[in-house]
C-alpha cells in the first residue's frame, strides 16, 4: 500500500517544484525574451503588433545603423570607455581584494577585526552616499573627467575583500599552509605559490562581480564625467535616449533614436555581461560554492 502512495507524493512534490520553476522562468524570463525580440522590430511594430511578434532583418539593420552612426559612431567610443573602465577597475579591485582578503583570513594583526568591520560597513553603504565625497576628492586631485579617476574610483570593491576573506577562511586547508611553511616558504611565497593558485575560483568570482558592478555603473560615471567623450555606455546611452525624447513623450526632433534604438541600446549594455557570465559560469559557480562545505 505504502509503495503505491509514495510515487503519488513524489509526483505531486515534483509538480509543485516544476510549477514553481516554470513560474519563475516565465516571470523573470519573459521580460528578457521580450527585450531580445523587440530589438528586431520597428517603432510601428512595437506600438501595433503583438508583444512577441518577430521583427524583420531590415528593421533590425536600420535600427542598428541609426544607433551606431549617431554622432560619428560615438556609441563605439562609449563602449570602448566602458571596457577600459571595467578592465582597469577589475584589475585594481583584484589587486586590492585578493591580498586584502587573504591577509584578513590568515593573519592575526592589531586592528584586523576593525578592518573587517569597516569592510562590512563599506559593503552595505549605498554607493550613492559616497559618490559626492568621491567626486570632491577626485576633483581635488584633478582626476575628475579622466580615465585614471574613473578606474581609481571603480576599483573600490569591499565586497570582493569580504568574498576573498570568506574563501580563504573556509577553503584553504591549514595543513597545506603549514607544510609549505615547513618546506621554507616565506609569507610572500605562501601567498603567491600556494594561496593564489588555489584561489582561481574566487578570483573569477570577484572579477565577475566587479566587472558587473563597473560595467553597469551609472551614478559614478554620471558624477565624475562631464565630458561626453569619456562617458561610459550607461551614461552615454542615457544622454542619447533622454535627449532624443524617445521615451519621454517629447519626440519633437529629427534625431533617429526612437523606441527600437532604445531597446537595442539596452541589449548592448546587457549582452557583454551575459556573454561573460556564460563563458565564466564554471568558475563563477565553483567560486560561489567554495567554502560552503568546510573541512
Amino acid at each position: 500500500m505504502s509503495t503505491r502512495t509514495a510515487p503519488m507524493r513524489l509526483n505531486l512534490g515534483r509538480f509543485v517544484v516544476y510549477a514553481t520553476l516554470a513560474f519563475a522562468v516565465c516571470f523573470y524570463g519573459i521580460p528578457l525574451l521580450w527585450l531580445f525580440v523587440a530589438g528586431t522590430r520597428s517603432e510601428a511594430s512595437l506600438l501595433s503588433d503583438p508583444p512577441f511578434a518577430l521583427g524583420t532583418w531590415e528593421a533590425f539593420t536600420r535600427t542598428w545603423n541609426n544607433l551606431t552612426s549617431y554622432n560619428n559612431f560615438q556609441i563605439v567610443s562609449w563602449a570602448t570607455n566602458s571596457l577600459i573602465y571595467s578592465i582597469g577597475g577589475v584589475l585594481l579591485s583584484l589587486a586590492a581584494s585578493i591580498p586584502g582578503g587573504y591577509a584578513l583570513a590568515l593573519s592575526e594583526f592589531p586592528g584586523r577585526k576593525l578592518i573587517l568591520l569597516l569592510t562590512l560597513i563599506a559593503m552595505i553603504t549605498p554607493s550613492t552616499a559616497v559618490v559626492l565625497p568621491i567626486f570632491l576628492e577626485m576633483n581635488l586631485l584633478g582626476l575628475s573627467n579622466t580615465y585614471a579617476g574613473m578606474i581609481l574610483a571603480s576599483g573600490f570593491f569591499p565586497f570582493g575583500v569580504y568574498l576573498t576573506y570568506v574563501y580563504f577562511s573556509t577553503s584553504l586547508p591549514k595543513g597545506v599552509m603549514d607544510s609549505a611553511r615547513v618546506d621554507g616558504c616565506n609569507r610572500f611565497q605562501l601567498f603567491t605559490r600556494i594561496a593564489l593558485p588555489l584561489a582561481r575560483p574566487i578570483i573569477a568570482l570577484v572579477a565577475f562581480f566587479s566587472f558587473l558592478a563597473i560595467w553597469s555603473n551609472y551614478f559614478l560615471a554620471f558624477v565624475l564625467l562631464s565630458d561626453d567623450k569619456l562617458y561610459n555606455l550607461p551614461v552615454g546611452l542615457t544622454a542619447l535616449v533622454s535627449g532624443s525624447g524617445a521615451l519621454s513623450n517629447l519626440p519633437s526632433n529629427d534625431v533617429p533614436i526612437k523606441k527600437p534604438e532604445v531597446v537595442l541600446a539596452a541589449i548592448l549594455v546587457v549582452l557583454p555581461v551575459l556573454l561573460i557570465f556564460m563563458a565564466a559560469q564554471r568558475f563563477v559557480r565553483s567560486g560561489m560554492l567554495s567554502g560552503a562545505e568546510k573541512g
Binding site: 576633483n139 561626453d228 533622454s242 535627449g243 532624443s244 519626440p251 519633437s252 526632433n253 529629427d254
Partner: protein, 421 residues
Amino acid sequence: MRSFKAAALVGGMILGATAGVATAQDAVTLNVWSDTPRLTMFDLYDKTHDGVTLNVTTVAPADLIAKIQLALQAKSEIPDVIFMSDIGYTAQLSTRRSNYLMDLTDQVPQALQDEFYPNGNSPCHVNGKLLCLRNDLAHMIVWYDKDAMAALGQPVPTTWEEFQKLGEALGPKGYVLGSAVESFPLYSYLVSDGCDLVMPVEGKEDTVKIDLTTEACLKPARMVDTMIANGSLSKVGTFEPDFVNLAKTGKVPLMVGPTWFGEYVIKPTYEWPAGKLVAALPLKWDDQSQPLTWSWGGGTYGGWKDTAHPAEVVDLITWMATDVANQTEAVTLPAHRPSAEAWGARLKADSYYASPDVFDVEVAAAAFSHPGYTSLRFVVSDAIAKVVVQGLSSGGTVEGALPALQAELINLAKLNGYTFE
C-alpha cells in the same frame, strides 16, 4: 633703484605685449552643455565664428540640474552655456543655492526681445529678470483629419463647448478626441479658462496664485469628466499602443495637441496619409473674447552668470535663439518671429498637410499663448499625474480631484519657498 625701475618697465612692456598677442591669437573657448537635437546648431555656430571655439558636451536633459549643482559645488567644469529642455530649469537654476543663470535683461537689446512672439519668453522671466531665451514654441492648437470630419458630417469646433458637443456626438460611436490621462493635455484643459493653477503674481517675487475652487477651473474639469464618461476622451495616453491603434484606424478624427504634434506624432506614429491633416486655432470658451492656450515643451538657452567670457556667452545664446539662418533649419517652430517666418516656408511647401496654412495657424495661435506658462521650481504636471490621473484610474473624477490637487500644489509651493495667494 633706477635700474630696477627700468627693468620693471621693460618687463612690464614685454608682459603686456605678450598678453596682447595672446589675446589676439587665442580663440575663446566656451563649454556648452546641450541635448542631442541642438548639437548641429551649436556646431554651426562653432564653424561660423572664428574667435570662439565651442566645447560641446551632450548631457541627458533630466540630469542637467544635478550635474550643474555638482559642478557649482566643485567650482569646476561649470558650463558657460546650456540648453534647457524643460522650462522649469530656469527657476531651478536661479535659486540661492543653485545660482547659476546670468541675468540677460540688459544684455539682450529690448528691440530683439520684442522680436519674440507674445509670451514666447514667459518661461525665461523669473522674478522680473530675463534669465534665458526661448528656442521654440509648443502651444496647443487643434489638429484634425479633414476627410474624416467631412465624412462624419461634423463641423470643426472653435469653442470648448462645441468640442464637448462633438465628443457627445462621436464618443458613443467609438471615436476619441484626445487623452484625459496625460498630464500636459489635462493641464491645458484645466487652465483654458484662466484657472489659477499655480500662476505667478506679477510684481511680487516668488508669489503664486493657487485657487482651484473657481468656475474657471470647475468648468473645464466638468467638461473632461463628461467627455471621459461618453468615451470621447480616452483613458490611455496619446503615445500608448491602444491610442496609436485608434489613431491609425481613423478613430481619432480631431484632437488638441502642441504645434509639434503634426510633424512628430501624427505623421510618423499615427501614420495618417498625406492630404488629410489640417490645423485650426486653439479653442476658446463662449465667455472668452479670445483663446488662452497652454504649451507642451519649448526649450531655452541660458548662460553662467560668472563666466569668464560674458560677451561671448550672450552672443552665443542670442545667436542660437535668433539667428534666422540657424533657426530656419530648426526642428520645431522658432520662438523668434523673423526666424519663424523663414522656418515656416518649409511647412507651407509640405504637401503632407491638407492645407498650406498650417504654419499661419500656428503663428496666429501663438498670439493666444498663456502668460502663465512660466518657470517654476516644482513640476505642476507631476502633481496632476499624481493626484488627478491616479484618481481617474481608480474611478474618480477630475472635478472631485481638484481639492486634493490644490492641497498638493500648496504643499509643493511652500516646500519650494513660494508665497501663495
